[in-house]
Amino acid sequence: MKDQALVQIALYAALVAALGLIPPVPFVTGIPITAQTLGVMLAGVMLGPWRGLLSMLLFVFVVALGAPLLSGGRGGLGVFVGPTAGFFIGFPVAALVTGWVAQLLKRQPLLLATGVGAFTGGILVLYLFGIAGFALVTGNDLLRSMQVMSVYLPGDCVKVVLTAIVAQAVHRGLPRAVATRQA
């Protein structure tokens, strides 16, 4: 793997970390939303599926080593056995699917391709992992887990839209920076 690829991978992992250090914003529904999963979806869209995956694996790895880089300054091995563990563990796959779907749709308008990709990866896949993890850790059944986690959906949908907007804006300035749009 080329050096430049590794630098990009480190960069997007750092972006997710930096977004996690932003304090949660109180959303209309009362549930505070964090900016972190925006970075996950951006990693998928901008780096493409495989490098996006590696970037999020790096992030998860360093958090496991003991870095407090998850929203709220959380980190270490404790986060992998808590109720929200599924979400963090799902970051790599979410980035992978986001990138893959966005790439599949590369002939479509950018906003659509990245929006659908971000939704598939950042919501469908990520919530799959999150809900499964929640059910496993707390011993609740899947339906109950889904009901509990659904409160975060509105905020996350906003982030999907944001991902698309940011990707489009960056593409205007630096077209080569969006891997899922390259021919």
Partner: protein, 205 residues
């Protein structure tokens, strides 16, 4: 950068990282395999005692679960309603035990010790062109990037506020990302100029 490791002289600190990780895995399996309630209570007590062994303020470290308390209450309530108080209590005990135990490993293990313990497991990645020393480099680069990105974000926020920005703060994500990409390009160039990522013990020109 900030880590969750705290420097103390405790028996846990002296244990090798690999041993602690294996111990954590074994304890987790035991906790779920042995389903009698008293087992969970005993485990919990042992873990809490282990925190005491960290030193005078050992028990203050138990507050690591503070951000999760609202969720714990919710889960407990949901579980009591859908199953029973005893099921909910058992679940809560296990969850607390596991989180505290895992966190204990993090508190007592330096990041580099943890990485050294795990590196052998990552050596198969050589086959896809990612040698261990390159992983180590990427980790170091990641860690180095985080405060830089934070600084970029903060300066953008300051400028935004001084221009009376307000509502649409999310727009800052765009210049932040463009900035970050440019920075990573510079780093790649500098890296190439120095001959790329060197093997350890190889002098950099």
């Amino acid at each position: 950068m900030m880590t969750l490791y705290i420097h103390r002289r405790s028996w846990l600190h002296r244990l090798p990282a690999g041993l602690k990780l294996l111990g954590l895995m074994a304890a987790s399996i035991a906790l779920y395999a042995l389903s009698w309630p008293w087992v969970s209570v005993v485990f919990l007590m042992l873990v809490m005692l282990a925190y005491r062994s960290l030193g005078d303020h050992g028990w203050s470290r138990l507050w690591v679960i503070k951000p999760l308390i609202p969720m714990f209450i919710l889960i407990f309530a949901v579980q009591t309603w859908s199953q029973s108080i005893s099921a909910a209590t058992l679940m809560l005990l296990r969850m607390l035990t596991l989180i505290w135990l895992a966190n204990l490993v993090t508190l007592t293990t330096r990041m580099d010790a943890m990485m050294d313990a795990v590196m052998p497991a990552l050596s198969p990645l050589r086959l896809v062109g990612v040698a261990p020393h390159r992983i180590a480099f990427t980790v170091a680069l990641f860690v180095r990037f985080v405060p830089v990105l934070m600084a970029v974000l903060n300066s953008l926020l300051e400028a935004w506020k001084s221009r009376g920005g307000g509502r649409a703060v999310w727009r800052l994500a765009i210049p932040m990302l463009i900035n970050a990409i440019r920075m990573s390009d510079h780093v790649s160039e500098a890296l190439a100029a120095r001959g790329g990522i060197h093997l350890p013990d190889t002098p950099n020109v």
